[in-house]
Symmetry: C2
Subunit: 369 residues, 2 copies
C-alpha cells in the first residue's frame, strides 16, 4: 500500500519576534499543533524579522513557551526563524523559493513587520513610507510570484482619525504619517484583491495593544524609545522613570486625558487565529475585509493609571504635560464586526493587562535581554 | 565694479514629455522667459522622462514651439532633457548632484511622471503602486537630500470616488488602484509638509484633460493602449477605428453615459504656472494644498461626441457597450478653490478642445512620430 506523503504548508509571520508577532506565534503554534494532530496536512510556522525593534532572544523565549505547552512536539520541526528585512527583495525571493523547493510552500502571510512609533513617523515620513508601504509592496510581489493566497495585515485604529464612530465602513481619515502609511497598505491590499479574485485578505485594525504573556517571558520591549502608554508605565513602575508624563489633559473627553481602547495582546493574538480560521473557511466572493480589533470600551489614560496603581498596590506618580504630535482625543473600537465575521471578542480585562504587564516588567526590568 | 553673477535655479518637470508635462513645459518656458528678462535671477527648465509612454521626438517638438514663440532666446540654454526613470534612485541622485555642482540647484519639482491607465492599474496594482508611490517616495528623498522647497503633484479627481460634491475638504474615497496610488502620494506629501515646515506643496487634482496645443505639434499620444475618451475619439475621427465604444449608458446621469469635466490641456498647463506663482509668493504657514483643476461643468460622453461631430462637420459613429472597470458615473470639479487660491480658472471651451484635438490628429494621424 502506498503511503501518501503529508502535505506541508508554511504560515509566515513577518515581524514575528515583535510584540504582537511573538504573542501571535505562541497562539498560532497551539492552533497548528492541534490541527496537525487531526489531519494529514501539516502546518509550519516561519518567522521573518530584521531584529530592528526586538532582541534576538525572543526566538528562544517563544521556543520555551512552546516546549512547555507541548512537550511532546519537537518545536524545531514546526517553527523556523529567518533574519530578513522585508525591504530586501532578493532575500525575500530566496526565502520563498527555498520553501517552494522544499515543498513547504507559504500559503499564508501575517504581516506584522513595520515601523510603529507615531512620533518618529511624524518626524521622518520617508522612513515610514519606505518601511511600511514599500515593505508591504515587496510582500505583494511575493504573493503574486509564489501564488500565496491568504494575507492578514496589522493595520491600526488611527486610520479613522478623530471620530466618535470607528465603523469599518467609514472613509479613512489618517491624520499623521504612521496612520497614512497603514492606510496606503490597506489601499494596496484592496487593489490586490480587486485584481486577483483568488486572493483573500484581512486588515486587522488594532486599537491599543498592551499586557504581556502570562509567562512573563515575552511582552512589549521596544528597542527604540517607547511610544505607547504601557511601556512608559512599566518604566515608572520599575523605577526607571520618576513619573509618568500624561500627554494632554485638555482633550474633549470625560476627564480631559486621552481615551483609548486597551486590548490584551493575547486577546489580540487570538484575533489573528480567528482571522486565519475565517480565511481558511471563506467561500464568499468578498475577498477583502477590514476589521476592528478592540474591546469596544474606552478608558482614559488617567483611569488606566489608577487601575494599574490598584493592581500593584501603590500609586504610580504622574504629571500632565502637553499633547503629543499625532495623538487624537478618543479612539474606541466599534467591535461588532469582529464578533460577527471572526466570531472573536476580547475576554481579558484591564486588570489582566496591568497584572501581566507588571509580571513582565518585574521579570524583565531592563526589557527582554 | 564687481559684477554679481546671475543666480540660477532649475525647475524640474518629471514626466515632462508626456501629455500634460509637455504642454506645461511650453507654458512654463513663457513664464520663466518673461521672469528672466526682468530680474537678476534666472530660471531653467529640466525635463526628466523615462520615455515609457511618449516618443523621444516630443523634446524637439517642444523646442520648435519654444523657438517660434521666443526666437531671440536660445532655448538650449534654458531647457534640458534627462532620460531617467524616477524609480532609479542612483540616476536621480546623480542628476540632482550635477545640478548642485553647477550651482543650478533644483528648487522646484513638478511631478507628472506616473502610470495613468485606470484599466491597467486595476489589473496590475503592483506596477502602479511601485511606479506612482515608490517613484514619488524617491523624489521625496531628493527633496530632503537636496533641500528642494517646492513641489507640485499631478493628482486626480478619481481620489473622490463617486460623489456629487468634489470638494477639496472631503475625505478621500479612491475606488480603484490608480486613484489609490495617487491618494497614497497625497498622504506622503501631507506627511512631508507636516514634518518639514519649510516645504511647500500643492496637489492638483485633474479632472479630464483633453485637447492639444494649437500648433498641433504636441497632444495626447499614448504609446500604450489609450485609456481616455479623446484618444479613442481621435482614432475614430482619423479612421483608425470604425466607431467609438461608449462604456456604459446605464449610469445615473442625465443621459445615462458618464458625465465628466473636460478641461483643455493648455488651461491645465496654465494652472501649474498659477500654482508655481502661488508657491513663490506663499508666506502662509499652511504649506500643503489640494486643489481641483477642472472647469466646474459636467458634460456627458454622448454630448461630447455630439460636440466633436459638430466641430468636424460629420457624425462620429459610436456604440454603447458595458461599463468599464474602475469608472464612476459622474465626476465634475468644484472649481472655486482654484480660483480663490491660485487665481486661475479654465477659459477654453469644449469646442476649443475638439478643434485642437482634431487639428492634432490630422497632423499626427499615427500619433507623435
Amino acid at each position: 500500500m502506498e503511503v501518501q506523503p503529508v502535505q506541508i504548508e508554511t504560515i509566515l509571520l513577518t515581524g514575528g519576534l515583535g510584540f504582537i508577532g511573538s504573542h501571535t506565534c505562541v497562539e498560532l503554534y497551539k492552533y497548528i499543533t492541534e490541527k496537525n494532530q487531526t489531519q494529514n496536512f501539516h502546518y509550519k510556522i516561519a518567522i521573518l524579522d530584521n531584529l530592528s525593534n526586538c532582541m534576538p532572544s525572543v526566538e528562544n523565549k517563544i521556543r520555551s513557551i512552546l516546549k512547555e505547552s507541548y512537550p511532546e512536539v519537537d518545536e524545531k520541526e514546526f517553527f523556523s526563524f529567518h533574519n530578513i528585512d522585508v525591504l530586501d527583495l532578493d532575500a525575500l525571493n530566496k526565502m520563498f523559493q527555498s520553501f517552494a523547493d522544499k515543498r513547504e510552500n507559504v500559503n499564508f502571510i501575517i504581516h506584522f513587520a513595520g515601523k510603529k512609533a507615531v512620533g518618529e513617523s511624524v518626524k521622518n515620513p520617508i522612513l515610514y513610507f519606505e518601511n511600511n508601504v514599500c515593505g508591504t509592496l515587496n510582500l505583494m510581489k511575493m504573493v503574486e510570484k509564489f501564488q500565496i493566497k491568504n494575507f492578514i495585515f496589522s493595520s491600526t485604529a488611527t486610520v479613522y482619525g478623530e471620530t466618535d464612530n470607528c465603523d469599518e465602513e467609514n472613509l479613512l481619515n489618517p491624520l499623521q504619517s504612521y496612520a497614512q502609511t497603514k492606510t496606503c497598505c490597506e489601499f494596496l491590499m484592496k487593489a490586490m484583491c480587486a485584481a486577483h479574485p483568488q486572493l483573500r485578505m484581512v486588515c486587522l485594525r488594532y486599537f491599543n495593544p498592551a499586557g504581556a504573556h502570562s509567562s512573563g517571558l515575552i511582552g512589549d520591549s521596544p528597542s527604540v524609545y517607547p511610544n505607547n502608554l504601557f511601556p512608559f508605565l512599566e518604566q515608572v513602575v520599575i523605577g526607571k522613570r520618576e513619573k509618568l508624563y500624561i500627554f494632554g489633559n485638555d482633550y474633549n473627553t470625560y476627564d480631559g486625558t486621552g481615551v483609548r481602547d486597551f486590548i490584551h495582546v493575547v486577546d489580540l493574538a487570538c484575533a489573528h487565529i480567528s482571522a486565519i480560521d475565517y480565511l481558511f473557511k471563506l467561500t464568499d466572493t468578498k475577498n477583502f475585509e477590514a476589521i476592528n480589533i478592540g474591546t469596544g470600551s474606552g478608558i482614559s489614560v488617567l483611569d488606566t493609571v489608577t487601575t494599574y496603581s490598584k493592581v500593584i498596590g501603590r500609586q504610580i506618580p504622574y504629571e500632565f504635560t502637553k499633547r503629543r504630535d499625532g495623538d487624537v482625543g478618543q479612539l474606541v473600537a466599534k467591535a461588532e464586526k469582529a464578533q460577527k465575521i471572526l466570531n472573536w471578542k476580547a475576554v481579558k480585562t484591564l486588570e489582566d493587562i496591568c497584572r501581566d504587564s507588571y509580571n513582565f516588567i518585574q521579570k524583565n526590568p531592563n526589557g527582554i535581554q
